[in-house]
Amino acid sequence: MPARITVSDLAAVYQMPGGDTLPALGPVSFHIEAGSFVCILGPSGCGKSTLIRLLAGLQRPSRGQAFLNDQSIIQPSRRVGLMFQDANLMPWRTVLDNLVLPLEVAGVPKPERLAAARALLPALGLADFEGAYPGELSGGMAQRVALGRVLIQKPDALLLDEPFGALDAMTRERISLDLLEMWERQRQTVLMVTHDIHEAVLLADRVLVFSRRPGRIAADIRVSLPRPRRLEDTYGAAFGQIAGQVRAAISQA
């Protein structure tokens, strides 16, 4: 069941060593419908990662609240999948063992979790790599493993913080199309931070553009392109128009 995410008056302030405070985010309020794909764009340092960490329950807000469905987020939850710019794989575990980690932690019996991981491998394009170690993988493949590790726990919501930001253009296009395809089948709620306008418009139902630090919502742009979307759609006039709208919002933010 995809989850709703509600953010209400949420703000984060960091305490600096000298006793100064650094307002990093907000206050922001927004609502993400269950099963929708939302992308966040914004200048670097505007608090996007902070927002993701708040929603993941990894840190507490200085003000306001966030909700998953109607439950206040006060600690991490297994219903939420989290992915960062770095794959963060455990180098001592094989691809397969990295994939099963969330199930292992959740206490799923071994045969079941191995079956779940093996079922996931082909869709990730990793069919021949289950025994490989992360050190043997390319950046793109490592990030695919990280994506699989998020998906295997069948989360109700995905929080992705620039997940493909470190990949080269070709690889990131391939992997974001794969993500799109998987999402169109399963329809979890996705909140994804990206710095690529093209990627945001291709994937999202809605693009939130954040202002400079402390980040607030500068524009909320609906992407009303039909689904399923394919790469060819990006050459159309409608796509170009929305992308232009997003770009304009960013330069004003």
Partner: protein, 331 residues
Amino acid sequence: MTVWMEEGKRYCAVLRVVSVLCTWDGVFLRTLFWLCLVKMPCCSAVRTTGFLIMQLNAFPKSLTRPLALPQVGRRPLRRLIRRLTPLLALALVLFGWQMVVLLEVYPAFIIPAPAAVLEKAVTVVGDGRLWLHASTTLAAVLSGLVVGVLAALVLGYAIAKSSLLDAVLSPLVVALQSTPVVAYAPLLIIWFGSGLTSKIVTGALIVFFPMLINTVVGIRGVPSDLRDLMRAMQATRWQTFIKLEVPAAMPVLLSGLKISATLAVIGAVVGEFVSANAGLGFLINLARSQYDTPLVIVAVLTLTVMARLLYGLASLVERRALAWQSRARRD
């Protein structure tokens, strides 16, 4: 001029003996026997024993491989040359040693002939004395190693996880660490007697500090992103410990273990030097007081073999446990 030459000769002789001890490898033992058997005159008893030991092949292959050398080439010729280089070096050293003896640079009770050392070795192996003393030392070494490493792991983990413990204990640890363990060995004998216990404590203490530091560094070095990952999966403390902290710190912990393995030998021998009634350290003292230099050398070499074997064992554990590291992408 001649005085200088004389000094130079002596200096070279000493240097070579030292370099034998430093460049010790499993290959050395076999070379030693081979050279003594084939190239040097000695009695037939020595020949047979030496031959038997050669056949025993007491060293597993992985231990006879030079450990620190990088993998250079795969061609068989290069590999052969690499394998032969240490042999050649050892042959040179032995030759030098024999020359020093033949030229009578030093009297025999200072630098005995290789053959005399070998003969002494055969005697003490035969009458069981070497085994008695070696096993006494080995027991102290292994117990000291286990006690010291375990204590360091527990306390190191606590210090790494608690900033309070860190603030309280770290200055103490640093202060204690800067005192040479040799200095408090006599005190330990007073407290724990001249039996096994004091040797274990000395060994454990000398192992403790480097292992403690490695444990703290290893646990502190666990990437915070991976900690977040475990937290996001709602891992329990135990799961985080066993699935993340232990394997992530393992490379640092194992290099600590390797250092500790050789340090434990030093610890036990220091304890035996101060006061003991058995053990290789005791044997060295005894033999020295009797001007039995060959026996001193035999005991020293036995210690070298012991330390080297322990180091090799620790390296083997390391290679097994960190097999994943060797499979990294080379690009």
